[in-house]
Symmetry: D2
Subunit: 331 residues, 4 copies
């Protein structure tokens, strides 16, 4: 057992529902092991500027269900400056921090690794991002909630699409991956799903999108038609695609960009449980000496993964569902 | 008592949550009085094309909680043709319709009035639109649900705005009125609300918007700042306004356009109750001979209002809340 | 204008969604008028024990959407002791409180009136209770949310009742009034609603309940049958009634007691707006000298009502809907 | 490839959110392979009585988001009669059914196996139950939604428990397993979780429950205390336990029995996706000749499992979380 006396935690990058549940689990687990916890504010900025608060059990009471993060989050350009990582390491030393837990995505983990060059303490990551684009874990904290938030919007749009017998395009987040779009699209019964993993769309050839629309209208007189579009999969996004489609098929296509509502909201059960598990696991593994790893979950079990490899993006989206959607979904 | 044997109902214009609850109440009330009910599909289009279905109690079972409308809705350019209204009247006569109930907004009611020039039967309107922009009723069916849908999104955006200490602009529907924006803005604790009733925004002078932002940041170090923007209150909408503000104050302002999710979803209790009340009242008043009126609710009581005056837009948004928001809300 | 320098607020009795929104409005309005606000904890207990906190704008930031009450609530037996009111008045004087705002139901208002016998400052009530059983206001803070919470449960039970073609009894709160039951029952499409206002049920004669059930089953082969039962309308509650019905008609009837989930949850828009309006209005009226009154809303307008008459229970539940439900609902 | 021309599907036992999504996937997948699908009504009853409907793509349009089951569900005592299985097999032959898909729990699967003794066609099960108590699959359809429904109630009760600083007991479903209770309890931040897997409670010795309550009150002055109680883990349920605790510790403990609301509601994304995947997989595997197996999901991959072993209950609840909750949760 490594003797850790003082532990720090921060949330970095885009906020994700469940970050608070993770902070809570870290604090409760550490407290039970007589480890002091401090929380840096605004991601790595709070570390650089030594803006922090001590976190006791009472500070994490009744936060498991809250969206956002009580520690605030932020991007941190200062850390990317030449002397940023060294300064961050200095701050950790000055504050007698034995270990730092970073809750965020692979970009935030790169920041942690940069610091490790100048820091003797332990560093561990916990994957918190709605995008699920982190290697070494089946799911990231916030992903499940983002799906249900998107789904809620899709269900509502379906109501009005159905009432009006219209074509709607719904653009979902995901940075450069289609996890949210595939999951929410399948769950929402979307007639088509357009995401980066399905190959780049050619704006000059919309036939692959148009054909199934016309097929559905011909064959089934289908009342509504929903296309889920992952962000960054068409130049100009869903709005441009809707305009192009309207022009091409002569039926009005409307776009709806969900945007930042996908980041907020009370986390669903799956995210709270994952966040609790990974937060608790991270503290335990720090006590076992772990460093430069991420606490993830694979096949239902908590496990460690090299922080350096979390950005590899080798993780595939469910091939069974991809195949099914392409064969049947747009039928 | 007027002897009505056959009654028709249609939903027209933008769909609104609660339209199904209204159809259900009409059918149940009529059935109890031995009146046959048919429903035209796709608004006035179904009337012109005689596309309809008979509606019995079993057809409206378990629809009170559904968004959209089982009768579908649509705009109907054909009715605005020179001979449209006469043809619609002919269809009503051919189908032996003694009375027609139109669920929709003031545009749909104008359609009904045009038909009345050629039709001897009774015509009654029920206000169904999320925008609440119909005179002669305190509330329209769908308004309460639209507020809560917008609010749900605002709460989620607040989570992420709060985590990031950012400025967000949320654009809400409402056509040319600010009912939804004022209600959702007040309920969401928005720091500013921009809507047509508060006077036209001058794109060349953003100071009235910028000043309170800077004041809040200076005085309170406020973590998040939310501005609710009614559609049609700034050229180019919230996206353009966000860009202009970002440029003017040097802090990134993000826009989120809620769009069509505001039309869908299971109606909240208030809308289901209003829809039930007005649907039942409309049938009863038809039996008492009412025609060319709208069934609305004023001060908690169902009442009739001339269909011809429903578009007058004399209805004011709550002056107490307007004043409070302007004095305090942006404090 | 009365010069108020220091204002106190407390929440008392059963908590209701929207109480936090009301506290927020009070603090923001008072702050804008340079009035200091303190909040007593745990209802009148905090007053008697001088347990309180100063409330600034930052303390009410981001609470408009939270259920419960940041000031905590409680019943206060100590206030009902012989010298309780005098001691409470003494505490108010010692703390230099010019005016006290009590957010609660008519029981809490009686407590405030008892104190007034010994206190020279101003006292004002704001109606906060899910039960809506306060005279002098059309709606109380929390009522709208309780309806939607009950409705959400009813919709879910309908799903399973429908799948199983079963009879379900759902017991809702409301103390001795049927406001919640009537509203949620109508909105949930309940086949029957049993509430105090419809007359006392005679346990020895269940025929008025059984007849419509048998009628529905005979006539329509209806798949599900939902009965909303207000608490205190049958000895032993919905569980006993379900057993009696099961025995009497030979079809299994199941009871579901919603209980305390009806008190919690994020307030819906209507409650947040009402709470904001009444909280702001209460402060303004105190500044105009008002005392021993309740700030309520009638016909959409904020207004004052003698605190002494708020428990009169002269307020009727919507007669139109009562009649309709009795004629049609159980059809 | 086995040539299947006609496929039947039925839902049996307690209904679960996602059953409709599963029916939809079965129909869409079969239609794409030119397999005709019929659906029996009311579980095995519809099979015995040959009450069924043909299911085309249009029948499953817009049902993915609906709770309950469009095919209705029921227990079927007739199937358990001596000649029940043989009669069911006869019905399948008469209707030229090549394969039957049963969506339900292990009890329903036993019914299917009984039929297999008299039937040459194929039989496949899909696990649909909120209780997650089926071996051979990590998750059952409906489990994820039940957790979030329970969680929503727990969050609401927390609001009022917190406002009142009270002790609440929330009883959740699960038959004889604690999956829902552990998951919802962890996710809800419950201070204690009582479920069958944690050992039988001895009504004569409540000390193991009482001690942590007193510890929490002493140590932290904790405002609210929530105990999640799985059904069937204390004689008389949560109501009796609450009474016993109130008596033992002198603080009022209140019980809330969630009951049947846990079965209903629109399925969350995870359940819709699982249901879609398993429904599609079941049809594909039938075409590959599979029979007397259940289509489940293990470690994210669809897989088959002997129907005869689904009731073994060897599946453990997450040992990491069990341990954590016992060490930390009640801290």
């Amino acid at each position: 057992m490594t003797r850790i006396k003082r532990l720090a935690v921060l949330t970095s990058g885009g906020d994700a529902p469940g970050m608070n549940a993770c902070i809570r689990a870290i604090v409760l687990t550490a407290s039970a092991c007589n480890i002091e916890v401090i929380g840096f504010k605004h991601g790595f900025n709070g570390l650089l500027e030594q803006e922090y608060q001590t976190l006791h059990a009472m500070h994490v009471d009744n936060i498991i269900q809250r969206g956002g993060t009580i520690l605030k989050s932020a991007r941190c350009p200062a850390l990317q400056q030449a002397n940023g990582p060294a300064e961050a390491a200095d701050a950790l030393k000055q504050l007698d921090i034995d270990a730092l837990i970073v809750i965020g995505g692979d970009g935030s983990f790169r920041g942690a690794m940069a610091i490790s060059n100048f820091y003797d303490g332990q560093l561990i990551g916990v994957p918190g991002t709605i995008d699920n684009d982190v290697d070494g874990t089946d799911r990231t904290i916030g992903f499940a909630t983002a799906i249900d938030t998107a789904l809620d919007a899709i269900d509502k749009i379906r109501d009005t699409a159905d009432a009006f017998e219209r074509i709607f395009l719904v653009e979902l987040m995901g940075r450069h991956s289609g996890y949210i779009s595939l999951a929410a699209g399948i769950a929402g019964g979307a007639e088509q799903i357009i995401c980066p993993e399905f190959g780049q769309l050619n704006p000059d050839n919309l036939r692959p999108i148009i054909k199934p629309i016309q097929h559905a209208q011909l064959l089934k007189g289908k009342s509504s038609y929903l296309i889920v579009v992952a962000e960054n999969s068409y130049p100009g996004g869903a709005t441009s695609l809707a305009e192009a489609l309207t022009k091409a098929i002569g039926i009005e296509c409307r776009a709806c960009i969900l945007g930042h509502i996908q980041r907020g909201g009370s986390p669903v059960g799956a995210d709270r449980i994952l966040a609790t598990k990974l937060g608790a696991f991270a503290v335990e593994q720090l006590m076992h000496g772990a460093t430069l790893v991420m606490a993830g979950e694979v096949n239902g079990e908590a496990c460690l993964y090299p922080l350096a490899k979390t950005g590899d993006k080798a993780k595939a989206i469910d091939p069974f569902l991809v195949r099914w959607q392409q064969q049947i979904g747009s039928y």
